[in-house]
């Protein structure tokens, strides 16, 4: 047990819950607030959407998050707004009123989540009105699935809610008194723990003291171990508040200028998670990125290609964290192309992802770096394929040789996202797509329309 202190719909709250409690479990089971619904319990459907804001940052807007996979302890010093908090007496919030008037609910189970996504849009628009383009609405509502009403009435509600009168309630800008977090170094080594270090120094020290603790930031993957596989996560270190991990800068690295250097927390989680089907690792491999691994004594820098060792196994030692990622900026002549193949356009994990970095010098392929996700136990460079293309002219023959090399160097597995044969063929086809794209620079194979 550990204490969380936060604001809930403007009212200060203190709760003692185990470290692996989600915001949704806190609300529904501990606080008896059942307005927020559990749909998929894996961060896909958005029925559990709630809004969260840092009250000490005056510039910060509310953000929508999936309560089912967000650790309740990340609410510390935050303001949580739920569906129960929007209406003032009988006066509905514009997001609610517009959903009623536009017939935006049918069975109503996804509705609280949709209203909360509209609420964050509404508060953002109040602060900084910007045109509601279809792309913007897709970004706002893309995480909310509705299986009976259909999205048009919901879109109508999003478009019309701004014209309804609304006065922000006073509690909106409520602030929290400063909270004194327990010093993680004084907690027993086997006791349950939710540490929230704010500096890299604190982080590496806590990491060393609790080698079995899991690191968490966005929790999109880690929390599924709890909700789906029912694993107990009794020691967690939250890296989302470490200042050093929130910065990105342009600097010189390896005696070359023009590198983007930073950590970006959940972005780093995508790397250290080492999933063979993570989105960013193949891209970073094709860019030849480096990572810095730090512990309490110091740090070391290694190429990302040597970081992934085997399925979910990395070069990271038990007391280390990724402190920085070094990404070279593309030179003017270089091109990076990335194609992700998945069953849905939004909110889906790839079956195969191919990243291709190269530059064309008088019709000859140079500095070719290719990496794939979904083709091996780790995200992996396609070294033989690269070699087959390096220094070769843009021709059917050279790409056929590359496809042959690709076949030889990868033996993907069959699983729910694609069979071995599908993955091999799809990866070959991505090379074909690259060839066709290079042959006709003003044409591209693309997906126009997709099923909702």
């Amino acid at each position: 047990m550990a204490t969380i202190e936060f604001l809930l719909n403007g009212t200060p709250k203190q709760c003692d819950v185990p470290p692996d409690t989600s915001i949704l479990t806190l609300l529904r089971d501990h606080l008896g607030m059942t307005g927020t619904k559990e749909g998929c319990a894996s961060g896909d459907c958005g029925a559990c959407t709630v809004a969260i804001r840092n009250p000490s940052d005056v510039e910060a807007c509310f953000q929508s998050i999936n309560a089912c996979i967000t650790p309740a302890h990340q609410l510390n010093c935050r303001h949580l707004v739920t569906i129960e908090g929007l209406a003032q007496g009988n006066q509905l919030h514009p997001a609610q009123q517009a959903m009623v008037e536009c017939h935006g609910s049918q069975c109503g189970f996804c509705t609280p989540g949709i209203v909360m996504s509209l609420f964050t849009l509404h508060t953002t628009q109040q602060r900084c009105p910007t045109p509601l383009t279809p792309e913007r609405l897709e970004a706002v509502l893309g995480g909310n699935l509705c299986r009976c009403t259909g999205y048009r009435p919901i879109r109508d509600a999003a478009l019309s809610m701004q014209s309804l009168p609304w006065q922000a309630p006073q509690w909106f800008d409520a602030s929290l008194p400063a909270v004194s977090a327990p010093d993680p170094e004084r907690v027993e080594e086997n006791a349950s723990l939710f540490a929230q270090p704010t500096t890299q120094d604190e982080l590496t020290r806590v990491r060393r003291r609790y080698p079995n603790a899991r690191l968490v930031a966005g929790a999109t993957d880690l929390w599924l171990e709890n909700t789906q596989r029912l694993v107990e996560l009794d020691q967690l270190i939250d890296v989302s508040r470490v200042n050093e991990l929130r910065q990105i800068e342009e600097a010189t690295f390896q005696e070359q200028s023009g590198w983007w250097i930073g950590a970006g927390v959940t972005y780093t989680g995508n790397i250290v998670n080492a999933s063979p089907i993570g989105d960013t690792p193949p891209v970073l491999l094709a860019l030849d990125a480096w990572v810095e691994l730090a512990n309490a004594d110091g740090s070391r820098q290694i190429p990302l290609s040597t970081f992934f060792i085997d399925y979910k196994k990395t070069a990271l030692a038990a007391d280390e964290v990724i402190s920085r990622v070094f990404v070279p900026k593309l030179t003017d002549t270089a091109t990076l192309r990335v194609w992700k193949l998945s069953k849905r356009r939004e909110d889906d994990i790839s079956a195969v992802l191919g990243a291709f970095c190269y530059h064309l010098e008088a019709g000859v392929m140079r500095d070719v770096r290719i990496a794939f996700g979904g083709m091996a136990a780790t995200p992996k460079r396609a070294l033989a394929t690269e070699k087959a293309l390096e220094g070769q002219p843009l021709s059917k023959t050279s790409f056929q040789a590359a496809q042959q090399a690709l076949d030889d160097e990868f033996t993907p597995m069959s699983d729910v996202r694609g069979s071995q044969l599908y993955r091999q063929q799809a990866a070959r086809n991505l090379l074909e797509r690259l060839y066709l794209t290079l042959c006709a620079p003003n044409q591209e194979v693309m997906l126009h329309a997709y099923a909702h």
Partner: protein
């Protein structure tokens, strides 16, 4: 729809062209009715539960407050689509923290077939597994988490057989859920007596209007 598109005009243009078709170009749904003329044919009324939906006050089964001593049930489901259950060892499940009771097919005292219209829907698997996710056993525990964790401790042995996934092949093998029957039009031997029975019922004695059949067609000669 996968097509080749000119890049010089950019994917944005393709998107714009499809915009009206994708998003619908009609007026907003709430503008298609006159809100003054509520509850008349041709006008729209708000969903009777809309206010409850948008405020989170609509109570679904999962939202009903449970009594303090409520037990929570989790089900053990078949991981395969077709096979014979040869061993179901639930000892570890019974011993798991928080577990109060575990039941299987053999613990059900009354009917074990709960098919509401036709028989063929066993409440638990006895031996034959006929679909993935078919219920093998149930665990009652003090919390839902304890019940779900206990389910994972079951030791199953299943003689797995090939699943029937192709309807055409299944038809050829005559793997039917129900016995086949045939509907056809034509002469019915007792047509005349059926019509007579209908025609003889006085209208006042019928609870529902009887759709009287036409007089019987002439028998084939």
């Amino acid at each position: 729809m996968r097509t080749l598109t000119k890049l010089d005009t950019d994917s944005r243009r393709a998107r714009r062209e499809l915009h009206d078709q994708l998003q619908g170009s009609g007026p907003l749904a709430r503008h298609t009715v006159d809100s003054q003329s509520q509850r008349q044919a041709g006008s729209a009324s708000f969903h009777e539960s809309a206010q409850k939906h948008v405020t989170g006050k609509a109570a679904y089964i999962d939202d009903i407050k449970t009594p303090a001593d409520a037990l929570h049930v989790a089900l053990g489901l078949s991981p395969v689509a077709h096979g014979t259950l040869t061993k179901l060892d639930l000892e570890a499940v019974r011993q798991a923290p928080g577990v109060i009771d575990v039941i299987t097919f053999n613990d059900v005292p009354g009917h074990t077939d709960i098919g509401p219209v036709f028989p063929g829907d066993p409440i638990f698997v006895d031996q034959e597994i006929s679909y993935a996710g078919q219920c093998l056993f149930a665990v009652a525990a003090t919390t839902l988490q304890a019940a779900r964790r206990a389910v994972k401790l079951a030791k199953l042995e299943i003689d797995e057989q090939p699943a029937s996934l192709d309807p055409v092949a299944a038809t050829e093998r005559e793997e039917f859920v129900r016995p086949t029957h045939v509907q056809e039009r034509g002469w019915l031997e007792n047509w005349g007596s059926i019509w007579k029975a209908y025609a003889s019922v006085p209208p006042a004695q019928t609870r529902y209007p009887i759709h009287r059949p036409p007089p019987p067609p002439a028998a084939p000669t």
